[in-house]
């Protein structure tokens, strides 16, 4: 979202029509200098015009515009406040003042000016976005979000808008969590919110404790069980992970991702026979099955000595795997199976593919 200010084309003509003599000369030179991009000269000339006709609101507005363009938002705001004091309905002045105040970090002061400007001109999404930003920076994410989403309707890919919308949602979430913690600090949801915050910030010990507190108050929280399982699995505590995934599966028995995670945790414990039904469910749960599920299924079958079945699963995984890292792993597994089956040609081919991919992926190493 770039600053596209209200057109001031008419302003210079209106200004020129109201003055004569030396003031008119200052105005003429100032307008010419601005149009040529000589902003310092424009500023000097318009300051001369303002000194010659201090009652002229349009002169203050034009000076404010030039000061704004030089980046001196503080001086610009002063000029614009003077202009509006002289002529409260001066077109364009409120939008410009609102924007300058926003740039100066005075969002609360900017809101009424941008609000008024918006009543004058409802069509431009930039103005609506500034209003949203002013509300956001004033600590009103709910109001901000309404304006920002309205502006986003006209500019869905604008990076600044995307950023501001995300920030507004984030502030809303924080506000809601703060209310939750204030109103029901020992509720399952309060612990859940705390757990998610810890989890998001990598504080896994604290997250585990908070998830367990949440789940002791309310067991029917499958996402919490899954998150708990994921943390335990990441810490290498596979037994605890399996227990958590099983609790989640008791609620969501047909969830393929849960079956995959549970199967992987069981595999990490070396319990391929127990992992197998979960991994078969994970493969059956999605069409096409995710490569990760097929890969894990292949690994379980390999552990169980079902080499032909393992090869079939891994071949399917290889067909659908796009990432080179995963393809490298699968080729290595297939080479292992080739070794088991005494298929030296397949072993050699897969090791060649593996070696080539590995060389590519580790090319930065010395």
């Amino acid at each position: 979202m770039t600053a596209r200010l209200v057109a001031f084309v008419a302003l210079s003509a209106a200004l020129a029509a109201q003055v004569s003599g030396p003031v008119a000369e200052h105005v003429r030179r100032g307008v010419a200098a601005r149009e040529e991009g000589r902003l310092e000269e424009a500023r000097r000339q318009l300051e001369g015009a303002v000194r010659g006709a201090p009652e002229l609101a349009e002169a203050h507005l034009y000076l404010g515009l030039v000061l704004h363009e030089t980046g001196d938002f503080s001086a610009a705001a002063d000029s614009l406040v003077t202009a509006l004091a002289l002529k409260p309905g001066l077109p364009g002045a409120r939008e410009l003042l609102g924007y300058d105040l926003l740039m100066l970090g005075r969002a609360e002061e900017a809101v009424p000016h941008l609000d008024a400007a918006r009543r004058e001109d409802t069509g431009r999404w930039q103005l609506i976005a500034w209003l949203g930003r002013a509300h956001l920076e004033s600590g009103r994410p709910g109001q901000a979000l309404r304006h920002l989403l309205e502006a986003q309707g006209s500019a869905p890919a604008d990076p600044e808008l995307l950023y501001l919308v995300g920030k507004a949602y984030s502030q809303l979430a924080l506000q809601s969590h703060a209310q939750l913690l204030a109103n029901a600090p020992e509720s399952a949801y309060a612990h859940l919110a705390t757990a998610e915050d810890h989890d998001l910030n990598g504080r896994s010990d604290e997250a585990i404790a908070a998830y367990r507190r949440a789940l002791s108050g309310r067991e029917a929280l499958p996402d919490a069980w899954r998150a708990l399982g994921d943390i335990e699995q990441g810490r290498g505590r596979h037994r605890a992970a399996v227990e958590a995934y099983r609790r989640a599966l008791a609620i969501r028995s047909d969830n393929g991702a849960l079956h995959l995670h549970c199967g992987e945790a069981l595999l990490a414990l070396g319990l391929a026979a127990e992992a197998l039904p979960h991994l078969e469910s994970a493969v059956a749960g999605d069409d096409p099955p995710p490569p990760a599920a097929l890969e894990a299924l292949g690994k379980a079958l390999l552990d169980l000595g079902r080499f032909l079945d393992a090869r079939a699963a891994l071949a399917r995984a290889l067909d659908s795997a796009v990432e080179e890292q995963r393809r490298m792993k699968i080729h290595y597994q297939l080479a292992r199976i080739g070794r088991k089956l005494g298929d030296s040609e397949a072993t050699r081919e897969h090791l060649q593919e593996f070696t080539a991919l590995r060389a590519k992926l580790t090319a930065g190493d010395k």
Partner: protein, 559 residues
């Protein structure tokens, strides 16, 4: 050929105590204070965080004076000092010297460094590790010391002192050497020497790593380099045959080395643990030298084809199927890889199936060994531990630098972590590095000496011999084979049909050398019905009906 010629020398018939301890009551007592061991490892870490500073601390257990008790040799680090020619290594201060402690019958130790001449005080070598073996077959164990800046070969002079034979013997290995081991590669009856080298790294090319916070550099920042094979020429000298034996052609980032006969062809093979690159298996092809076969053998990577930070390594039969398996240590989240020997020239990654995935997920290890700590007939697992980065908690919350050692008991091929009940040292974070394994007090069980980076070592005495389980130790004396028995394979069978095998070597682990006596736990078996020794010379020797709870010495027959 089978011979029944043998000699039994029981050094004290140590019988089991009156009451048996449960396996979960295995304890280690730290007796380092008051033992007379004043050694403290000095890494002298600098703000520049030169990688060499976080890697050292080897230990060797050797009976240098042949009094029947293991003495302890500690390898020190050194100080990195700015000289006229740039940054160099200084070992002159007393606290920077290597130290040898003579055992007073296993109860205490006396510092004999100065009179035995093994301080390395005049060497410009930043010390790393040690290897032991009787390279001149005179009956006295010799000593080899590795480090950055060179190596040292000490010849044992009649059990009284050591003489530095490095230059005369042609045993100086340039660069940064790490673990080393003696073994008879060419089966000519004398010990050759395999010396791992970590990286093509020099002090003057040492980089600063870490954008915001200085950290020790990843090995990925430096090129690989070849390990070195020194052939014993039988006249007190060595020749570098790394190229002829096809070792130099396979560079790595080697930290650990272990020997055994992977393919049961009677020739000693070599496993090398490499840091963050493929592991290596050098299969001995006799006159053709070595062939590096880790990738086709399934030993190069983990089960997903991923590399790991291989540090220490051991090469012994953990599942009692008669074939040597491989375990290595790695960094947190990489798991300690365990490769089961399938017997057809291939290995299978078995970390998950053996319970090690669950135990080692967040551990970072250095020295590692398969050793029967509770005498139940299954080799357990010990690892000295700590992360390599002393500020890893800043890099990755949840990981810690100092970690207690790992002790995991082998329950018929699956491991169970029993550190919680094994004694206070297993509850204390350490920067463990090298570890030597051996029976310090000759009570029959395996004690441990753990080298600690920049700190005092831990001397840990086991209580296993006070349990009901029986044990046996075998000391080998070669004749046509190397005199100290390295390279021989000893298998035992008990009345109940249980079989075990051990390989004669002092190498394995990380930067360290262990007791040459071969140790077997026997569980409730009070008699070993049959012992078979396969000597490197090709001679097989059988002993029958050997009573347990004793050390026996087996001499190689004449033919």
């Amino acid at each position: 050929m089978t011979s029944r010629q043998f000699l039994l020398l029981g050094i004290g018939a140590l019988s089991a105590g009156p009451s048996g301890l449960g396996a979960d009551e295995l304890r280690f007592q730290d007796r380092s204070s008051g033992s007379g061991i004043g050694f403290r490892h000095h890494a002298n870490p600098t703000p520049e965080k030169h990688l060499v500073e976080t890697m050292g601390g080897g230990v060797a257990l050797l009976d240098f004076d042949k009094d029947g008790f293991l003495d302890i040799f500690f390898v020190n680090g050194g100080a990195l000092v700015q000289g006229e020619d740039g940054l160099g290594v200084d070992r002159s201060a007393p606290e920077l010297r290597d130290r040898l402690y003579r055992s007073r019958e296993g109860r205490s130790f006396e510092d004999v460094t100065e009179r035995t001449g093994v301080s390395a005080e005049t060497k410009e070598i930043y010390g790393m590790g040690a290897a032991t073996g009787d390279y001149d077959n005179d009956g006295y164990v010799d000593l080899f010391v590795t480090g950055y800046g060179g190596t040292i070969l000490y010849r044992n002079v009649g059990g009284r002192s050591f003489e530095d034979r490095t230059e005369v013997a042609g045993a100086n290995v340039a660069g940064w050497s790490a673990s080393a081991g003696f073994f008879d590669a060419d089966l000519d009856g004398d010990l050759d020497l395999f010396v791992t080298r970590y990286l093509d790294w020099r002090l003057d090319t040492s980089r600063r790593c870490g954008e915001q916070i200085p950290v020790y550099c990843s090995p990925r920042e430096y090129p690989a380099i070849g390990s070195v094979l020194l052939r014993n020429d039988g006249d007190g000298t060595f020749t570098d045959v790394s190229r002829e034996w096809r070792v130099a052609q396979s560079p790595g980032k080697a930290l650990g080395v272990a020997f055994n006969d992977a393919d049961a062809d009677g020739l000693p093979d070599v496993v090398v643990a490499n840091d963050s690159t493929a592991q290596q298996l050098f299969l001995n092809r006799g006159p053709k030298g070595f062939s590096e076969e880790a990738l086709p053998a399934g030993l190069a990577y983990n089960e997903d084809g991923g590399s790991f930070a291989g540090m220490g390594v051991d090469f012994e039969d953990f599942d009692n199927d008669g074939r040597p398996d491989v375990v290595a240590t790695a960094l947190a989240k990489e798991l300690y890889p365990l490769f089961r020997n399938e017997g057809n020239g291939t290995f299978v990654y078995a970390t998950r199936q053996t319970g090690l995935a669950e135990i080692t997920a967040r551990l970072s290890g250095w020295s590692v060994k398969f050793v029967d700590l509770d005498h139940d007939g299954w080799k357990d697992l010990f690892a000295a531990q700590s992360h390599v980065l002393d500020n890893v908690d800043l890099m990755e919350p949840g990981l810690v630098y100092l970690q207690p050692p790992l002790v995991a008991l082998n329950r018929s091929g699956r491991f169970a972590d029993v550190a919680a009940s094994a004694g206070p040292v297993f509850q204390t974070g350490l920067a463990g590095r090298g570890t030597a394994f051996g029976d310090l007090d000759n009570d029959g069980d395996i004690d441990l000496v753990v080298g600690v980076l920049n700190d005092r070592p831990k001397v840990l005495y086991s209580n296993a011999s006070s349990a009901a389980n029986h044990w046996l130790q075998v000391m080998l004396v070669g004749r046509a084979s190397v005199r100290d028995g390295q390279g021989a394979s000893v298998s035992i069978r008990t009345a109940s049909g249980g079989e075990q095998v051990r390989y004669g070597t002092t190498a394995g682990g990380y930067l360290s050398a262990s007791d040459p006596r071969l140790h077997f736990g026997l569980g409730s078996e009070a008699v070993v019905s049959r012992i078979t020794v396969r000597w490197p010379s090709g001679v097989s020797q059988v002993l029958e009906a050997i009573e347990a709870d004793r050390l026996i010495t087996v001499r190689e027959p004449e033919s």
